[in-house]
């Protein structure tokens, strides 16, 4: 179900489709921190994350005329683009042997902590509260595989291997975790 924020976003996307840069400016101001946080969580280095953020909003700008509200809400569309781009970037970095994400992690974590701030209470306030509640209710054995898939781009087979669990068990946990989130958040997302 669409809320006011969804409707405002759709208007912004429509304005972007008619090449209104002010709409892109507003959309960026509204979601750049959320997108950057997600991308940084995945890619781990600020410089790469900022490049990807630019790419994400550029893709939104370029594909705004293709956006179909019947195929999902604007925020889900934006975050899908962001996650896909970030996971692609992560895989690209992993293919380069000279740069190990693990090696740069301490510096990045330190940098990140300097910029961390509470989420903007004006944007998605109710949703964030519901999300926190839903995730708090999620058992670690379901939450951890979901985070490994979502933030690390790992398949259920890879997760099962890393966590040393049978594949069937891991599939059950992922599916049950997803069903829990879907059930708890369907009124918000």
């Amino acid at each position: 179900m669409m809320n006011d924020e969804d409707r405002e976003n759709i208007v912004l996307i429509q304005r972007m489709a008619s090449r209104d840069t002010k709409a892109l400016d507003a959309f960026y101001d509204r979601y750049n921190r959320l997108v950057f946080s997600l991308v940084l969580k995945i890619i781990r280095t600020r410089e790469d994350a900022e490049d990807i953020v630019v790419d994400v909003f550029w893709q939104v700008w370029q594909q705004s005329f293709r956006y179909d509200a019947s195929r999902g809400k604007p925020l889900a569309w934006l975050l899908t683009i962001a996650r896909t781009r970030a996971i692609d970037g992560l895989r690209s970095i992993r293919r380069q042997p000279s740069q190990s994400p693990a090696a740069s992690e301490p510096e990045d974590r330190q940098m990140n902590s300097l910029h961390e701030m509470p989420a903007d209470p004006g944007v998605l306030a109710d949703t964030r509260q519901a999300v926190r509640k839903a995730l708090n209710e999620l058992p670690d054995q379901q939450r951890i595989p979901l985070e490994m898939a979502y933030f690390e781009g790992m398949t259920h087979t890879e997760i099962a291997e890393v966590l040393n669990q049978p594949l069937g068990t891991m599939k059950d946990r992922i599916r049950n975790g997803m069903l829990h989130l879907k059930q708890q958040l369907k009124a918000y997302l």
Partner: protein, 260 residues
């Protein structure tokens, strides 16, 4: 293949795909199913799971990218928008040109229609004239038919003479109206320096020239001849061969002769 109802297996696939936990080859097959099969049930389930999994992003502490990121993005967008505006103006010019072309084509079509209309009017006028002409001819022929089928008509047969024994002619003479129809057949045409001449032969006095004619290649001819008002009773009609243009009195031999 489109699915008709949501099953546990379909729900599981949708959840793995949305979480990003599906292996590469399986993911590609599933994306083909979503896009090519147009399976609304699976697509709807994927959207619901995608919204749910993005909750992980919403739970992250927010961080600010460097301001230069926005500057880069907006610079790109401004450039793109200005190019788009230029392209739009080009397209508009193209549209204006197209409008001009359509207008010119419409004018040409209108001219063509006017010309065709004019030609059609000319054809109609011509056909109307032709119909009037044919009606007039038909009226004349009806009149002629009435004239020569009335009880006042006398029929005179002329027989071939001399060198043209096979020739024949028939005269329909309306005494009251003083009109005469003359039909001839099997009379060979004469050369250009000669002519056939039809004569009224009164009971009293000299023959009177009625008409000069030549036959067509099949030996036939027809003539509608007014009879002079002062002509008395006839005793015969005859055809002679004469010099071209005819003569006041017969000089040549008879080729056709019919007594009354």
């Amino acid at each position: 293949m489109k699915h008709l109802e949501l099953t546990g297996e379909l729900q599981e696939s949708a959840s793995f795909y949305a979480a990003g936990a599906m292996p590469e080859d399986e993911r590609r097959r599933y994306e083909r199913h979503l896009s090519e099969d147009g399976c609304d049930i699976c697509r709807s389930e994927v959207l619901a799971f995608q919204s749910a999994i993005h909750s992980l992003a919403l739970n992250l502490p927010e961080q600010n990218p460097a301001p230069v990121a926005k500057m880069r993005l907006m610079a790109q967008a401004e450039l793109s928008a200005s190019r788009s505006g230029l392209e739009s103006r080009r397209q508009r010019r193209g549209t204006e040109w197209l409008a001009w072309l359509i207008s010119a084509a419409s004018t040409a079509a209108l001219i063509a229609i006017v010309v065709v209309n004019s030609n059609l009017r000319q054809s109609v006028n011509s056909l109307t004239s032709r119909v009037a002409e044919l009606e007039s001819q038909m009226l004349g022929q009806r009149t002629t038919l009435a004239l020569f089928t009335s009880p006042q008509v006398r029929v005179i047969d002329l027989a071939g003479q001399g060198t043209t024994p096979g020739a024949a002619a028939r005269v329909f003479w309306n005494v009251r109206e003083k009109r005469l129809l003359f039909y001839v057949s099997d009379l060979p045409p004469v050369s250009n320096d000669r002519t056939y001449q039809l004569w009224f032969v009164p009971k009293n006095g000299q023959p009177v020239s009625a008409s000069v004619f030549n036959t067509s290649s099949d030996g036939s001819a027809m003539a509608d001849i007014p009879v002079p008002a002062n002509l008395g009773d006839l005793k015969a009609t005859a055809v002679t061969t004469e010099p071209a243009g005819g003569v006041p009195q017969p000089t040549g031999s008879f080729v056709l002769l019919g007594s009354i």
